[in-house]
Symmetry: C2
Subunit: 247 residues, 2 copies
DNA sequence: CGTGCTCTTGAAAACCCTCAAGGGAAGTGG
DNA sequence: CCACTTCCCTTGAGGGTTTTCAAGAGCACG
C-alpha cells in the first residue's frame, strides 16, 4: 500500500524545479534559509493532499507529478479549477484555511515549507515575493484563458484545447523542437478531463474518439497520444494560430 | 458626445479608493511618489480602454465606474473574464502587451500610472508589491470561483450567482446591514451578463423572467432589482449557504 | 412619428447529458 | 492458469437544456 518513495533532492542546487519554482530568483543565502524550513512529502495518485476548509499549515511547490485543484458543490458536481504541474506553488500566504481540495492526480512529490516561517522569510526576501507575484499573475492568466474555454467553447474545442495545453507543456519540458509529431501520455483519466472541461466523461470519450476518427490525434491504448499536426489541433481548439510556429 | 467629466480627486488622501486600491498600505512618502507619476483618465460607457495585443503604456486603478475584461474568439464568441470594480487594478507589471480587451461598462474614471516609473517604484516599495500580490491572489480566487459557475452550473444558477455577487458587493459598499431586502441597479446589459455567464442574451432574459415569476427577484424596468430574500437567491445559485447570515 | 437600441418571447433545432450496457486490462485468489 | 472483480473506458438511445432564428414590445431620442 504505502510505497516508500525516495526523496532524492535534499539539496536545492540540484532540484529539478530550481529555476522555475517560487525560489527561482533566490541567491545562495536565501536558498539556505529556505532549506532550513523545507521538507519533502510524497503522495500517491488519488490521495487528497489538502481538504478544502482545512487549516493550512504549509505551503509548497510541486517537485514531480501532477495535482489538481478542485471545487465541489453539495450535490457532487465537481469542477477542476487548476492543474498543478512541477514547479507550481500550492497555498496562499496570508490565508488560514484552504479554499480548494488539492488532489494528487499522479504520484507526486512536494517540497513543503512551514507556513509561518515561510511568510516571515517572504517578508524580508523580495526575490521570493516578486517571484510569487509573477507566478500568481501567470496563474491568473491561465485561469482566465480557461474561462473562455469553459464558457464559450464546444465539447470538441474543449478537448482540443486541453490536449494542446498538455502538448505544449510537454514540448517545453522535453525539448525545444517544434517540428514533427508530438507524443505524450495523458496524465488524466477521462473523468478528470471531464471535471476540468465542464463536461461528462461520456462526452469526453466520444469527442476523443471523434478526434481520433478524424485523424487529429492518434491513440495507442487509452492514454498514449500522438499529435501528427499541432496546427490542425490548434485549429480544432478554436485558437488563433496564424501559423502558430514557435508555439 | 464627449462629456467634460470632472476629475475631483487630485489628492490621494481624499481618494475614495485610498484604502482598497494598490496604494492601500502606502505611507505618506510613498503616496507622494505615486502622486508624481499619476494622472486621471475618463472613459464613457462602451468605450474600449485597452485593446488586446496593444502596447501597455500605463497601469492603474478603477476609481469609479465599472469596466470589463473580455476575450474574443475569431468568430466573435466573447467571454468576459473579469469585472473591474472601483479599486481594482488594471495592467500587469512586467508585461509589454495587453492580454485582454478592457471595456468601460459604465462611465468610468481611472487613476493611471505610467508603466515604467510604476515598475521602478514597485521594485523599491514593498508595500505596493505586497498589496498587488494580495489583490492578485484575490482575483485568482474570484476567477476560480467563476470557473465553477461557467463549468458546472445551470443557466438559472448562473444568473442567481451573478445577481448574488452583485448584491453582496452592493451590500458591502452601501452599508453593513444584512437584514431586509436588497435593492440595486444592474450595471450590466443582458448581453454583458450573457458574456460573463457563458450564455446567450436570450437565455439570460428568459431566466431573469423565470426568477421574477418565481418571486426570487423583483424587477422594475429592466435594470432595477429587488431581492426580497437573499437566502433564497443563494439557494438558487447552488452555493452552500448554511444560514448565510453576515454574508 | 420614425429610428435605434435593449429586451422579451416563441418555435424549432442542436448539442450535450443521462441512463444503460458492455469491452478491455490489471489485479486477486482459488 | 483461470475465473472473478474492479476500474477505466467506449458506445448507443433517448431526452432535456440551451441555442438559434425570428418577430415584436418598450423606451429614448431626434
Amino acid at each position: 500500500m504505502t510505497l516508500p518513495i525516495q526523496i532524492e533532492h535534499s539539496n536545492c542546487g540540484e532540484c529539478p524545479i530550481r529555476h522555475r519554482a517560487v525560489c527561482a530568483h533566490c541567491e545562495r543565502d536565501e536558498l539556505e534559509a529556505l532549506e532550513e524550513i523545507k521538507y519533502y512529502r510524497s503522495f500517491e495518485a488519488g490521495q487528497t493532499i489538502i481538504w478544502s476548509g482545512d487549516q493550512m499549515n504549509f505551503v509548497g511547490s510541486v517537485v514531480s507529478g501532477i495535482a489538481s485543484l478542485t471545487q465541489t458543490m453539495e450535490d457532487g458536481r465537481t469542477q477542476m479549477v487548476g492543474l498543478l504541474l512541477p514547479s507550481d506553488f500550492v497555498g496562499r500566504p496570508g490565508r488560514e484555511t484552504a479554499a480548494y481540495d488539492v488532489i494528487a492526480t499522479t504520484d507526486i512529490v512536494m517540497c513543503c515549507f512551514r507556513k509561518k516561517p515561510f511568510e516571515e522569510l517572504m517578508a524580508r526576501t523580495p526575490h521570493i515575493a516578486h517571484r510569487l507575484l509573477q507566478m500568481t499573475l501567470d496563474e491568473l492568466d491561465a485561469a482566465r484563458e480557461w474561462m473562455l474555454v469553459l464558457g464559450r467553447k464546444t465539447a470538441r474545442e474543449k478537448i482540443a484545447s486541453l490536449l494542446s495545453i498538455i502538448a505544449r507543456r510537454d514540448a517545453t519540458l522535453t525539448r525545444g523542437r517544434s517540428s514533427g509529431p508530438i507524443v505524450f501520455d495523458l496524465p488524466l483519466t477521462r473523468e478528470a478531463m471531464a471535471d476540468y472541461l465542464g463536461l461528462t466523461l461520456e462526452t469526453v470519450s466520444r469527442q476523443m474518439s471523434a478526434l481520433k476518427k478524424d485523424g487529429i490525434i492518434q491513440l495507442e491504448g487509452k492514454r498514449h497520444v500522438t499529435i501528427p499536426d499541432m496546427g490542425r489541433l490548434m485549429e480544432e481548439a478554436g485558437d488563433d494560430t496564424d501559423g502558430g510556429f514557435l508555439v
